[in-house]
């Protein structure tokens, strides 16, 4: 288990617990009772800790190295997944995975950022930072989904679109802009989940939908706290402050009406129990797809555009 720095008290308790268990296993003493008390204590400790997470701790959890990624969810939620590759122009971007699968027997199109679970994989996935090809692959498959009337489900988890030479030359900005534009008028249901990091245009590039939800330990805003700190405070050291100031947690985003809801995670975060998290998500997705299907296609695009039209806060002066 990997513990975050703020989980130190829990990590210490786990150490004790392991020692007790070891002693118990060696059969020197019966430790069952103590083990049980300690487990209870961990539970309580964890509950209080997770109830009072700061914005920065949320950011840390969203980047937890053991956090489940798109493919982990696909494996647990859907059946018959067929991965589909390539943007038909340049190449296949490994930072975005996509494909068709079935949910309760019905076909869906899944598109999501993919990070790696170890160093090699992380490099292969470019740390979840997509190039223009990734966004164009996503758009190609969204159009396919539209044609064959499949709902599109997006899983968002990126520290940002890749800021590289080739990415710029091949039109990173255009690719993201095009996706945002096309997604706002795609004639099929789009359901989006922020499952980790929701950084800026890189997230929004596959993040425009009829409903957008955030998992409990995620963040979503215009810039990462680190980059915000470098630009506004002119130093890397204010990321904690920046995370606070940006109000980037799911609770804030929901309060601002910029997302449609929050999906709770198992105690200790999504990484503590993949199966439980996937089960929660699966139920959430099915419910929402059913509701959206009931709302019907007729005014879907109008509603979607209207929703984004209303985002923004400003003052209107009396003229």
């Amino acid at each position: 288990m990997v513990f975050m720095d703020f989980e130190k008290p829990i990590a210490d308790l786990y150490d004790q617990l392991n020692k007790l268990k070891e002693m118990d296993n060696q059969g020197e003493m019966d430790m069952q009772e103590m083990v049980a008390t300690l487990e209870k204590k961990i539970e309580v400790e964890r509950e209080t800790l997770y109830k009072n997470l700061t914005s920065w701790q949320r950011v840390q959890l969203s980047r937890h190295p053991e956090r489940p990624y798109t493919l982990d969810y696909i494996e647990r939620i859907f059946t018959d997944f067929i991965e589909l590759h390539g943007d038909r122009n340049v190449k296949d971007d490994k930072a975005i995975v996509a494909g068709m699968a079935k949910l309760d027997g019905a076909p869906v199109m899944i598109i999501g950022h993919q990070k790696g679970h170890n160093t090699k994989e992380r490099q292969y996935r470019n740390f979840g930072m997509a190039n223009p090809e990734g966004y164009r692959k996503a758009l190609r498959l969204m159009r396919l989904a539209e044609k064959f009337n499949m709902p599109v489900i997006c899983f968002i988890d990126t520290p940002g679109a890749y800021p590289g030479l080739e990415a710029e030359d091949r039109g990173q900005a255009e690719a993201i802009a095009r996706n945002i534009y096309e997604m706002s008028q795609l004639k099929t249901i789009i359901l989006c989940y922020i499952i980790g990091e929701g950084a800026s245009g890189g997230a929004l590039g596959i993040g425009v939908g009829d409903r957008v939800y955030m998992l409990e330990n995620t963040w979503y805003t215009v810039i990462s706290p680190e980059n915000c700190s470098t630009i506004l405070w002119r130093s890397w050291d204010y990321k904690v402050k920046a995370a606070e100031a940006l109000k980037l947690t799911p609770e804030h985003m929901f309060e601002f009406n910029l997302v449609d809801g929050i999906v709770s995670e198992p105690l200790g975060g999504a990484h503590s129990d993949y199966d439980a998290m996937a089960a929660i998500l699966k139920k959430h997705i099915s419910t929402n797809l059913k509701e959206l299907a009931k709302e019907g296609h007729k005014n879907m695009i109008k509603r979607r555009i209207e929703k984004y039209r209303n985002m923004g806060k400003f003052r209107v002066l009396e003229s």
Partner: protein, 283 residues
């Protein structure tokens, strides 16, 4: 007779770098460091008369260059609010007050409607002002673009958006990010209405502005030598850990890479736009 003939342009001594000139009478070019009179500079469409450098200008200047006299500014009553109580080194509220005082502008985008050219083609322009917090896009910029689009649809006018921006306004956090979606979604309505939209990118056009409406024109055009890109040059340099090639992220390279229809000199801007809009037509 090279004694009397200057072989290289300009005065070659270093004094030119030292000389301070009073504001208002002289224009000193940022690019070639040459001075010209303000009158020459203004008559040359705010370009350096010596090297043709396109100086950064504001919405008022663009409106008067492009639109026929008698245009009206719209939606001037929409102002930014510090609804997040955002404080970095300075409160956002103070930044807004200072910017308003300094620039005499309401926010980083102004909208005007009028006509262009001898055929009086109806045109609405939404133009960004870099002087106002780096031309950053917050809720007000997004709302004014949305209103401009609705105005175009209601009054059947063409749309020109002039971008000049460092990107999204961080002090409005996710609200500024959602302006990418808001403006792009609204552009689909303009397109459905069959009205033409030309995007003009000027120095600089970066970040969330490029990644939304700036790249979504029926035609995308730019002024010469403008910085156009998604990520800022500094961020890219830090990521790839080497120097950027010359001419990277310029109008010229953006055209070569296939993302611009044309590069237009500011002196030809009005004619070119009139020509383009007359061909696209306002149905």
């Amino acid at each position: 007779m090279s004694w009397f003939k200057r072989l290289k342009e300009g005065i070659q001594t270093t004094t030119k770098n030292k000389k301070e000139t009073p504001d208002g009478l002289w224009y000193k070019c940022k690019e070639c460091k040459e001075a010209s009179t303000m009158k020459e500079f203004r008559e040359n469409f705010y370009k350096c008369p010596k090297c043709d450098y396109h100086a950064r200008i504001g919405s008022k200047e663009y409106f008067s260059i492009i639109l026929n006299p008698g245009y009206t500014e719209l939606f001037t009553n929409i102002v930014s609010e510090d609804f997040l109580n955002f404080v970095d080194l300075k409160p956002y509220k103070d930044r807004l007050d200072e910017a308003q005082k300094k620039t005499k502008l309401v926010d980083a985008l102004a909208v005007a409607t009028g006509h262009i050219g001898e055929f009086n083609i109806p045109l609405t322009i939404a133009c960004m002002d870099f002087a106002f917090i780096g031309g950053s896009m917050g809720s007000v910029v997004g709302e004014k673009i949305a209103l401009a689009i609705e105005y175009c649809i209601k009054h059947r006018t063409a749309l020109l958006i002039i971008s000049k921006s460092g990107g999204a306004r961080m002090m409005e956090s996710a609200f500024s990010l959602m302006q990418l979606a808001k403006t792009s979604a609204m552009l689909t309505l303009l397109s459905d209405a069959g009205l033409p939209y030309i995007s003009l990118m000027t120095d600089p056009t970066t970040g969330g502005v490029t990644a939304s409406f700036a790249m979504l024109g029926d035609l995308n055009i730019a002024e010469p030598k403008a910085l156009i890109g998604f990520a800022g040059p500094r961020v890219i340099r830090e990521t790839i850990k080497r120097d950027l090639p010359a001419g990277f992220q310029t109008s010229e390279s953006t055209l070569e890479n296939g993302f611009l229809d044309a590069i237009v000199n500011r002196k030809d801007l009005k004619n070119t736009l009139e020509n383009m809009f007359s061909m696209l037509g306002v149905k």
